[in-house]
């Protein structure tokens, strides 16, 4: 894992001191709310419906057990005993007090954590594949480059006042698990014919009120040019991105309005001017950062007879092993998805006790590594297959063993109107009701791979546009109203879902989704054809007819 050097440590401590002083001046009246708001947002502190909300960064979703225990401690001491893991691989605390946030940030700094760049019109925390460094299909560990981008982007003076926020995602495998094509910049690690490492680069993807799939601007960008090329993209965006209209300020609009070829030419021109200069990545610096992410010292494969026996004898374990394990590159190892989607639970929520349990498991079985996935689950990336039954047993005792990774109840949902000041409808209760509706193991298994994603407003934090079934909550005549989109996806073949027809009330929406699911079960060519494949084969007509009748 990455460890802070002297510079990082001083930087984070200085920021804590600075923010403590800003809070003091706000409370004493030396700063007005207007002056203070951008300062608190730069430190991840929002004011939501019921209270302040603190968003803590988990860079590229990686942390260790000490950090997880600290999050649990903060949940207990400063909040109501829980936290919410988000689609940005971060964690949010829903009830901190303003006057206590300096103390929280200082407790976080002690374990090399912070809330910097979790808000504001800057380059946000870089997100990455949650199986980074572990997955069998990986070309190289994307976190090395995510960390290099973090170091380059933190407080970058030229890019601290961008037209709008800017999100970069990176994946190290051909199977994209980081949704790179719906980010402002998406990077997919690749190897060229000479076997050198580089990146396929996408620009201008994004969700929100104008969803767009990123456009490919480079098939293969050499590793050494990563920063120079990224800087060139940011410069073009900073210069030409719209500042007159907040809703048209993201780079996706610039790509759309300028046209891909012209924008690409602008980027290449800027790149030519700075390439080969100070931003060229030296190989020894890449190697130095890579050393931080060196794989743990793997053990020899354990006695896997327990695993095989548990499949036969341990209730629920066969399903868990089938759904929640991801193939590891190391023989005898696997990655375990810890679902934060218990049937009827709030997606992404974890109690302080559960955080401690995961920390203990990571320490005991998982080489002290934990990941947060953008699908709002946790991951133990490196565990011996032989240890999985023991891990499962502990998870089960703490409500963390739901065998639903990638299934219909593994729902992404934003906080929605239960917490969020921007929301126009609730998301979490819709997710909970859907989870209960489809929650039996038999029903979930019958339906197979299906991603439902729910947002409580047009800003699309719940990624509804790229849900196989997407649900967008809006307010209509004072009531919550839910629009359904079908056929979205956020993998290497990303697509934006299409609105299927008029929306549904809060009461109706769960039935409507069940109608969609039942329609899929009726029309699929066989069990091996999943929802998305079936939708792509037949289009929206049968779903439309099932929902609205044949008109």
């Amino acid at each position: 894992m990455y460890r802070y050097d002297e510079f990082d440590r001083e930087f984070v401590l200085a920021r804590v001191a600075q923010f403590s002083d800003q809070v003091r001046r706000r409370l004493s009246g030396d700063l007005t709310e207007e002056q203070f708001k951008p300062l608190r947002l730069m430190n991840g502190l929002y004011l939501q419906l019921h209270a302040y909300m603190l968003r803590v960064a988990v860079p590229y979703g990686t942390m260790n057990s000490v950090q997880m225990r600290r999050l649990a401690h903060i949940a207990r001491k400063y909040d109501h005993g829980y936290g919410h893991f988000t689609t940005r691989q971060n964690i949010q605390f829903n009830w901190p007090r303003l006057d206590e946030t300096p103390e929280i940030l200082s407790e976080l700094a002690e374990v090399e954590m912070h809330a910097i760049q979790t808000s504001g019109n800057c380059i946000r925390n870089v997100t990455a594949d949650h199986f980074a460094g572990a997955a069998a299909d990986e070309i190289a560990d994307p976190r090395v480059y995510a960390e290099i981008l973090r170091q380059w982007s933190s407080l970058h003076p030229e890019f601290s006042f961008l037209p709008r926020k800017f999100k970069i995602a990176i994946t190290g495998a051909p199977n994209d698990r980081a949704a790179v094509q719906v980010h402002d910049i998406g990077l997919q690690l690749a190897r060229n014919e000479e076997g050198e490492t580089g990146f396929t680069v996408y620009v201008g993807g994004g969700l929100g009120r104008t969803p767009m799939i990123g456009r490919k601007v480079r098939d293969f960008l050499p590793e050494a040019d990563l920063l120079a090329y990224t800087e060139a993209i940011l410069r073009v965006y900073n210069l030409y991105g719209r500042r007159d209209n907040k809703y048209k300020a993201r780079i996706k609009i610039l790509v759309h309005e300028t046209g891909l070829e012209e924008l690409k030419a602008d980027i290449e021109r800027e790149f030519e001017a700075i390439r080969g200069g100070i931003l060229t990545l030296p190989k020894d610096e890449v190697d130095r950062i890579e050393a931080y992410f060196a794989p743990p010292v793997f053990k020899a494969p354990g006695d896997e007879s327990h695993f095989a026996a548990a499949i036969e004898t341990m209730p629920g374990f066969a399903d868990f092993a089938q759904r929640n394990l991801n193939e590891h590159h190391q023989p005898g190892y696997t990655s375990v998805t810890i679902s934060l989607k218990p049937i009827g639970g709030a997606p992404g929520d974890a109690s302080a006790e559960q955080m401690d349990v995961v920390a203990d498991l990571a320490e005991k079985y998982g080489h002290d590594e934990i990941r947060v996935s953008h699908e709002q689950n946790l991951v133990l990336p490196h565990v011996l297959k032989a240890d999985v039954p023991a891990i499962y047993q502990v998870l089960k005792e703490h409500g963390l063993a739901e065998a639903n990774a990638g299934l219909v109840t593994d729902i992404i949902a934003c906080p929605g109107m239960d917490y969020c000041a921007l929301a126009t409808a609730r998301s979490i209760p819709v997710a909970q009701r859907l989870s209960e509706r489809f929650g039996t193991p038999e029903r979930q298994k019958e339906i197979g791979d299906l991603k439902i994603k729910i947002s409580g407003c047009i800003n699309a934090c719940g990624h509804h546009h790229v849900g196989h079934i997407g649900i967008l909550g809006v307010e209509k005549k004072g009531k919550e109203f839910y629009q359904i989109t079908l056929g979205g996806s956020a993998d290497e073949k990303s697509s934006i879902g299409e609105i299927v027809g008029r929306g549904f009330s809060y009461e109706e929406v769960v039935d409507a989704v069940e109608t969609v699911v039942d329609t899929y079960l009726n029309i699929r060519s066989g069990e091996e054809e999943d929802f998305l494949q079936a939708y792509r084969r037949v289009g929206e007509t049968p779903f439309k007819e099932a929902l609205y009748g044949t008109q």
């Binding site: 706000r26 409370l27 004493s28 009246g29 709310e33 004011l47 939501q48 419906l49 019921h50 209270a51 302040y52 109501h80 009830w95 007090r97 303003l98 006057d99 709030a346 109107m417 239960d418 917490y419 929301a423 609730r426 979490i428 209760p429 909970q432 307010e475 004072g478 009531k479 919550e480």
Partner: protein, 102 residues
């Protein structure tokens, strides 16, 4: 018309409403109901002055109504603000009310 003035308390973000005598109250039931445009304008001014004293932030007025003798906000969003998350009845004002009632 029936309105009340609301805000969030600066130091902890708690939802509050303007009560009698310009005091901020944590329970909507104790809020001062405004029945004229003039009364609303006056209350908003009072709220703004309080914001200037670093007591609250985000002062605005909301529509309220009375149902079965209980004051409730008209907009659903404001109903949630007045109670707490709808799926966590153990949190927010609704939880405190339950504790008080027990």
């Amino acid at each position: 018309m029936m309105k009340v003035v609301t805000a969030n308390r600066l130091f902890d973000g708690e939802v509050v409403w303007l009560g009698a005598g310009g005091r901020w109250v944590e329970d909507l039931g104790e809020a001062h109901v405004l029945e004229t445009k003039e009364a609303e304008a006056e209350a908003l001014e009072e709220g703004a002055a309080s914001a200037d004293r670093q007591e609250v932030v985000d002062v605005y007025s909301i529509d309220v109504t009375v149902e079965e003798g209980v004051l409730i906000p008209v907009r659903f969003r404001e109903q949630i603000r007045a109670a707490g998350p709808t799926m966590r009845l153990d949190l927010g004002k609704q939880a405190r009310r339950r504790v008080n009632a027990a």
